[in-house]
């Protein structure tokens, strides 16, 4: 969106598509490296869901089943959703809030960087970390929990969860624009933990009280986890399309909010 408006008002800047691609690639590569080397990020975002999966899916309950689906398989979908949420929210919001609040984004904005490359890098990095988490859970389940599924089914599970990174990245961008560098991590936790609990990611959904299950209908992690559970045959009876529609609507709302923040930063609305 931002690049489009900038290019429209300044038609004389024409980078070759190859040069533009190089910028997007480098931006994404260094965003990925930056987060990979950030112990706070990798420790919380990667090890958190993996640790819980090992404990509740492999050490305990590994012979149990929920609605006909083995616990180790079921929990790949739910802890996978937790992992995707964490990787995406922390990957976008924390970095953006800090870059904005502490001046780094201004240095980038003063350079000829295409603004969209900055956001794309954050989203792509979140998707890569999401994929890494889901694959790690599956590998553990396969090796230690007897998880077996056809390759096509695994591809669908992975694809669903990685695509599910988008709504949370969008939410992270919005949060990054409306939180400060110090308050961002706390704010994310404040949203991430209750939201994932109410969506049945910590306790299987059917065991939650009725009121919580009703609240969950408006929570994006509920819909993403139901899509993932649907792939492994443990989904609710609502249609797949409904879940996607809710996630899409949520993504659009968050992008809209992020756009307001972006324009405010550019000084177009205030100041």
């Amino acid at each position: 969106m931002s690049t489009a408006t900038m290019t429209l008002s300044n038609p004389q800047v024409q980078r070759s598509p190859r040069h533009t691609a190089t910028i997007y690639l480098k931006e994404a590569k260094y965003e990925f490296l930056k987060n990979l080397r950030l112990r706070v990020y990798t420790a919380s975002v990667l090890s958190f869901p993996i640790m819980f999966y090992v404990l509740f899916g492999l050490v305990l309950n590994s012979k149990e089943a929920i609605g006909g689906t083995g616990v180790p398989t079921y929990l790949i979908a739910t802890y996978g959703t937790v992992g995707v949420m964490g990787a995406s929210l922390f990957g976008t919001a924390a970095g953006l809030a800090s870059d904005r609040g502490l001046g780094w984004l201004q240095v980038k904005r003063a350079s000829p960087m295409p603004p969209f490359a900055y956001f794309a890098a954050k989203v792509v990095t979140s998707m890569i970390f999401s994929a890494v988490i889901v694959m790690a859970l599956f590998t553990l389940g396969f090796a230690l929990g007897g998880v077996r599924m056809p390759l096509a089914q695994f591809a669908r599970l992975l694809g669903t969860l990685v695509a599910g990174s988008l709504p949370f990245s969008a939410m992270g961008l919005a949060l990054g624009y409306f939180t400060g560098p110090n308050s961002a991590p706390a704010t994310i936790n404040l949203i991430y933990l209750p939201m994932s609990f109410c969506s049945g990611l910590w306790v299987p959904f059917m065991f939650l009280p009725k009121i919580v299950r009703e609240i969950a209908q408006v929570l994006p992690p509920y819909h993403l986890s139901q899509l993932a559970l649907g792939v492994v045959g443990a989904g609710s009876h609502a249609s797949t399309a409904t879940h996607w529609e809710v996630l899409l609507a949520f993504t659009m709302i968050c992008l809209g909010a992020a756009r307001i923040g972006f324009q405010r930063d550019q000084g177009k609305l205030y100041g």
Binding site: M6, V13, T22, G103, G267, K268
Partner: protein, 317 residues
């Protein structure tokens, strides 16, 4: 077509005297704070201009306006005759800003690699590292660098695109003397390559060491402009220390006195010229003792200049 346009613009910049950056009647407010008040300011091709002023004078605001990071409330900021937010202009400018936190887990060469990729014709990485004195630090993570080294990385990011126009906002703030001199050398080297430079500083000494022209800014207004020696001449002054029974107010009335401070049992008087003030002092107070006259330091002289305008401002209010 694009190439010809760019070439002709580059040829234009080679013409000395062409205005490459300007603030025209700019007012900028942050809420009730008037950061800049009717500022007119120009930077010509090939010049090194220092915007000199105390903290909070509006220097950074001026730079941010010229970089198109914030819009003015009235008036306009122009770079290369156009809008500073124009990406074509950003391609030809480099900026070193005051940053609270730079991504710390990336290495020096990685930061440079990324920023170089934004530009059409960046400098070779080795050249950037050499120009910023970072050859031996290229594999270090940003978080492992000292304050002076960090400033040099930010400087490297400003120059890596081989820009025609460089904005350096307080490039040496917080650096020790040695690190400051090192960065000065690096800035001079860029000047030697024909760059136009606008730097902000609150050290008169720094403006003197680097700039062809100095604009003194205080409380959002440009209060003096000239070559460093002209500014120094305007601000040059003497410091007179003595023990006297005259009141501070009486001392302030003496012609040529710019500032009076009580210092234990003595008073410290700043004056444009010492002789007439000393003559007057001796006439008014025959018991005056412990008289000392020294040259005011550059910083104090500058302080006197900015306080002068503050006083005039108060009187006119």
């Amino acid at each position: 077509m694009i190439a010809t346009l760019e070439q002709s613009q580059r040829a234009d910049t080679a013409n000395a005297g062409l205005i490459v950056a300007s603030l025209e009647g700019v007012n900028k407010n942050y809420g009730h704070v008037r950061a800049l008040r009717g500022v007119d300011f120009r930077v010509r091709a090939g010049e090194v201009v220092a915007l000199l002023g105390p903290n909070g004078a509006g220097k950074t605001t001026a730079v941010k306006l010229l970089l198109g990071l914030i819009p003015p409330n009235s008036g306009r900021a122009r770079v290369f005759g156009g809008d500073p937010t124009n990406p074509e202009n950003r391609m030809r400018t480099g900026a070193m800003l005051q940053v609270g936190r730079v991504p710390e887990t990336l290495r020096v060469r990685e930061h440079i690699d990324l920023f170089s990729s934004y530009y059409e014709k960046p400098m070779v990485a080795a050249e950037v590292l050499a120009a910023a004195g970072l050859e031996k630090l290229s594999d270090r993570k940003f978080g492992d660098l000292s304050g002076g080294q960090r400033q040099r990385v930010l400087f490297a990011l400003a120059i890596c695109g081989d820009p025609d126009l460089l904005f350096l906002d307080e490039p040496t703030v917080g650096l020790d003397v040695e690190a400051r001199r090192m960065l000065w050398d690096e800035i001079r080297r860029m000047v030697g390559r024909g760059k136009t430079v606008l730097l902000t500083t609150h050290y008169l000494q720094e403006a003197d060491a680097l700039a062809d022209r100095v604009a003194v800014i205080n409380q959002g207004e440009i209060i003096a402009e000239g070559t460093p020696s002209e500014i120094k001449a305007k601000t040059a002054g003497k410091r007179i220390r003595c023990v006297t029974s005259l009141s501070v107010n009486a001392l302030r009335q003496i012609r040529g006195v710019t500032e009076v401070k009580e210092d234990r049992e003595a008073v410290e008087i700043h004056a444009v010229e010492a002789e007439p003030v000393v003559r007057e002092l001796l006439v008014r107070d025959v018991k005056l003792s412990s008289l000392e006259v020294t040259s005011a330091g550059l910083e104090e002289a500058f302080l006197a200049l900015t306080q002068d305008t503050a006083r005039e401002g108060n009187q006119s209010n």
